[in-house]
Symmetry: C2
Subunit: 280 residues, 2 copies
């Protein structure tokens, strides 16, 4: 099932989604719920995941390779579902693919946080690399200069989500350990918004919400990016208006693992025959 | 500090150690304690870690690239400190580098387990890929046909070790969750030996030993590989007999992270200026 390369209208082309692995399938899930008629071409760079612990130059290079591959297959727009790539590679991608609309999870998440927070005290939970890069902080403060952004790297959340350990006392204990400093900020500074700044984290959403307690709005970047894509498609007349949507998956390693773990993130089975191995 | 390429005797050359990341530094630590006069050239393929979730073909290809790089710099022998690479790439490495002595952690760990177990019921804790590959099981059963090998993938242990969470109630709860099936085997079958089949796991050794309880011998492959290297050097007259040893580090990404997290695994500071970035 290869997307057509022929003289189809631009609207008929799939939307490319790129992530370092399977986490971005939480974004695809939100996108499909909101835009069921669209066609999707998802690329997970599973051979080189995780991006969260790699240097910015390396991640930017990988993102350009992935985008090139998707563009060569024909896409009408590109969603960077990977927070790390969105955080470090957006300027490079915009420069190298000037005519391609690109939406990244970081920008969408930052906007949603600004809209959700009354106090301006916002927490971002992310991978080590996203936190170190400080991109959510910059993206939020560029829109609201007086915002106070409290960032917390939660490295274990990725492993928990991939293991399918998403609730129960053990998971709650891990979440509590990471959220402790944030909870003190809540008490002291009226922190009222928490951004799930990694695509793996929505799987732990219920537990995170429970630990964060009342008075804290959770921003799930998969939902916010889906809204941003919907808005863009309608504004630019690129939305597909008929037919039923479909999805095709590309992975750079281990199609079997992609299908197995990916089903957790997509919330429905990923069929092994829909996963194509590619070399970037 | 580049190893000499000139006409030095073979004994003066460093010993190459290869791992997917920093975990192999637990092996280097054991090696340096046992062989303080040797020189070490450690390569961590940090840009592509972890190997534990990647396919065997990919891992074998990476291992050959890493070995080629170390051989080009001049080494007298090679230690595969990465369990995943040792599990899947040893045949390829032996074929491509016929004159280079290669010792892998899996073989060393398997031998130690056979010697340690009275009942022949042995547990192996490892990454998902090592468990799926079944290599420890094969390596153990090839030496002792009647051995019963019980394997358990403990994906979260890697994240715990890298986070520096190595003891306390939370860590114990995670260890207990993974060891539960093994503990039932202990009760039912007299399982009496537990192999730490991933270089990250020795950091959690105390907690694992506590949960495993009395009557279970822990085999730490970093120690067993160090003994195997010592034995080989003496048998082949390749041991360095004078001078003080040293270590030089190569990483494929993020020298800063290598030095920072690496210090946890090496048990002493890794200086940033001793870490050289390389491209494989």
């Amino acid at each position: 099932m290869t997307p057509e390369h022929g003289p189809v209208g631009l609207t008929e082309l799939p939307i490319g989604i790129f992530d370092s692995g399977m986490g971005g399938l939480t974004v695809l899930r939100a996108l499909r719920e909101r835009l069921p008629q669209e066609r999707w071409l998802y690329l997970g760079d599973t051979a080189r995941l995780p991006y969260g612990t790699k240097g910015p130059e390396t991640v930017a290079r990988y993102a350009v390779q992935a985008a090139s591959h998707l563009v060569a297959r024909g896409i009408k727009m590109l969603v960077i579902a990977c927070n790390t790539a969105s955080a470090v590679a957006m300027p490079r991608l915009s420069k190298e693919f000037t005519s391609l609309p690109v939406i990244g999870v970081v920008e969408a998440g930052a906007m949603a946080a600004i809209n959700a927070s009354k106090s301006g005290h916002i927490a971002v939970l992310a991978t080590e690399s996203t936190v170190r890069g400080g991109t959510y902080k910059r993206a939020i403060q560029s829109q609201r200069g007086d915002a106070q952004v409290f960032s917390q790297a939660c490295s274990l959340f990725v492993a928990l989500a991939e293991e399918g350990w998403i609730k129960g006392p053990l998971v709650e204990a891990v979440v509590r350990e990471y959220l402790q400093p944030m909870l003190e900020e809540k008490k002291r500074q009226g922190l009222d918004c928490l951004v799930l700044g990694c695509t793996h984290f929505p799987l732990l959403k219920d537990t995170i919400a429970h630990v964060a307690g009342p008075g804290v709005v959770l921003v799930d970047s998969s939902e916010t990016v889906a809204r941003a894509v919907e808005k863009f498609l309608h504004q630019s007349n690129l939305a597909r208006t008929s037919g039923s949507g479909d999805a095709h998956f590309l992975a750079t390693d281990s199609a079997e693992r992609f299908a197995r773990i990916g089903s957790l993130f997509l919330g429905e089975p990923v069929n092994l025959q829909d996963v194509e191995l590619v070399n970037l």
